[in-house]
């Protein structure tokens, strides 16, 4: 297995706050890697470091063998990394199709407009927005906007997808739908790095989990191992009963923490 994404001792400081501190991990191709940790642990900062919104103070980020540590967001997108935002960022006065076409035009494939529109249609269909192609993004519901975030990222035909809390704010039916979509995306060969607070969901989706706390790696491993780790239980899960549930012994407890 080759490493798709490698972080080598990456640090990011905001004034006196060390948001990410000496963080290293690697991600394999085709993997779903879950990123969990309490609020303020540095998860979203990490996404912003990977796709170039922030510049790291030290360390290296390598994607597919290319050093992308110093690259601007639009260059990172060209390499094949796409992301969704925790707070949705639709291009409000553009249609669903146009939103997706932007992703397809300027993403990894750098498609001309005509073929980008085709790719945009396909991406919208994957997330179930195919009947709302000509609706302005501002008229979508929150669930719709979340799907649009995903469709737009997919339209870029990325190698790596960064998902920042795509399940937050959705109802149980919508969550089930979204989880199915994420699985389908992975099956199509896209690697996924996912931040999620819904523990049940991320434990079942992820192949491996990295736990962050105060910008540092607290634990890394298979979901069951991580859920059993006493340090993780103390710092994040808090509650041994919830941890037991996540190991698969418990019932339907949802357990959104943090």
């Amino acid at each position: 297995m080759t490493a798709l994404l490698e972080l080598h001792r990456v640090s990011k400081r905001f004034g006196g706050l060390l948001a990410v501190h000496n963080l290293s991990f690697a991600m394999r191709e085709g993997e779903i890697l879950g990123l969990i940790g309490p609020n303020g642990a540095g998860k979203s900062t990490l996404f912003n470091l990977i796709n170039g919104v922030y510049a790291a103070n030290s360390g290296r980020i390598v994607f597919s063998g290319t050093d992308i540590t110093r690259e601007r967001p639009f260059m990172v997108a060209r390499h094949g990394i796409a992301r969704t935002h925790q707070i949705v960022q639709p291009l409000t006065n553009m249609t669903v199709l146009e939103n997706c076409a932007v992703g397809a035009c300027f993403g990894r494939e750098n498609l001309p407009l005509g073929r980008a529109t085709e790719a945009a249609r396909a991406a919208a269909a994957v997330v179930g927005l195919e009947d709302r192609l000509h609706l302005l993004a501002l008229h979508l519901t929150i669930a719709g906007k979340k799907r649009l975030e995903l469709a737009r990222a997919l339209a870029a035909q990325p190698k790596l997808l960064l998902l920042d809390e795509v399940l937050a704010g959705l109802n149980p039916t919508e969550i089930d739908h979204m989880i199915a979509v994420i699985r389908r995306i992975r099956d199509s060969g896209v690697s996924i790095l996912i931040i999620e607070h819904l523990m049940q969901a991320i434990m079942s989706l992820s192949d491996r989990i990295v736990v962050l706390n105060y910008g540092q790696k607290l634990a890394e491993g298979a979901p069951a191992e991580v859920a059993r780790d006493p340090q993780v239980i103390e710092a994040y899960l808090g509650d041994p009963k919830l941890a037991a549930e996540l190991e698969g012994k418990g019932g339907q407890g949802s357990g959104a923490h943090g």
């Binding site: 796709n51 601007r72 967001p73 960022q89 291009l91 932007v102 035009c105 993403g107 407009l113």
Partner: protein, 324 residues
């Protein structure tokens, strides 16, 4: 792409507008109509190109007049002092101003929102101050052309017609350009920048390059229009060439018609020019037109943010499929 363009109805609507502009004053040799349409063509040129920045990329440029004025100066100077033919001087003005805009743009387009808007006023003031003190361009006295320069165009009377047709051609090119950009990948990237620049960059739109490029492109045709306008009056001075009120009027026009649309901006420019012409000659309102423009801008911003086209589209949604 270019062949597809010929099959779209909107391409032919633009062509029809150009034809009407070119032919209607010829009927009955109507010089008064020609002068009024010439001014309308200049307004449409300025507003359409401003719209590339304002309506597409979402950047408010208060200094679009600097392209017009500088283009005028370069052209007049080349014709007068260097003895270049008009056509070549116009082209040089367009290329020169576009290049300058590209260089300026890479600098000031790092700013956003109100800071960018302010910096564009700074550009006008700086260029005006430079020209006022630049002796080869006559300083604050400006440059006068002799009647001789009209000889190659067949004497003053015929030259006015030639200049008029060139102005209409520049207007037509502005409309085609607005349309072509709007339906291109470049245009899609610009619209994305206009909606949410950070999200656009994350989706891969090369924002610094696109912004500088559109700033530069939006300078080309206004510079040529400036060359024609001042060649026609045979006189240029800094106060006329860099008149901030014309910049403001161009903004009013673009917002009146509906920023981001090709039709609306052209329609807004035409209507505004007609209104302005009426106000200038009416005794009660003479030199009152800027007050009216100001009030108009307030009303549009408060009550009709999507302008004339927003109103038309809401009444006749089907037109959205034909017009751009």
């Amino acid at each position: 792409m270019s062949l597809n363009l010929l099959r779209r109805p909107f391409f032919w609507i633009i062509t029809l507008v150009i034809a009407v502009f070119a032919i209607s004053p010829l009927i009955g040799n109507d010089v008064q109509l020609r002068e009024s349409l010439a001014l309308a063509a200049v307004y449409i040129t300025l507003a359409s190109n401003l719209n590339l920045m304002l309506g597409y990329a979402g950047y408010i440029n208060f200094g679009s007049i600097v392209f017009f004025g500088l283009g005028g100066y370069i052209c007049i100077w080349l014709v007068n002092a260097q003895g270049w033919p008009l056509g070549l001087s116009l082209l040089a003005a367009g290329v020169g101003v576009s290049t300058l805009a590209l260089i300026f743009g890479l600098g000031i387009l790092r700013l956003r929102g109100a800071f960018f808007a302010l910096s564009t006023i700074g550009v006008v003031e700086a260029v005006q101050a430079f020209v006022q003190n630049f002796e080869p361009w006559g300083g604050s006295a400006g440059i006068y052309l002799s009647g001789q320069v009209f000889q190659p165009l067949g004497g003053p009377a015929r030259a006015l017609w030639v200049i008029y047709f060139m102005m209409v051609a520049v207007m037509g090119l502005s409309l085609y350009l607005s349309y072509a950009i709007k339906t291109s990948k470049f245009g899609l990237g610009l619209l994305a920048i206009g909606q949410n620049e950070d999200a656009a960059a994350i989706l891969g739109v090369p924002t610094p390059r696109y912004k500088a490029l559109v700033y530069s492109v939006s300078a080309f045709l206004p510079a040529i229009a400036g060359g024609l306008y001042f060649f026609k009056s045979a006189f240029i001075q800094p106060a006329d060439a860099f008149d901030l009120s014309l910049s403001t009027e161009a903004l009013v026009v673009a917002m009146l018609g509906g920023q981001g649309t090709v039709t609306g901006v052209a329609l807004g420019a035409y209507l505004y020019e007609e209104l302005r012409g009426y106000l200038l000659v009416s005794e009660t309102f003479s030199h009152f037109q800027l007050v009216i423009a100001g009030v108009l801008l307030l009303v549009i911003v408060l009550f009709f943010p999507s302008g004339l086209m927003g109103f038309i589209y809401s009444r006749f949604p089907r037109l959205q499929k034909v017009l751009e």
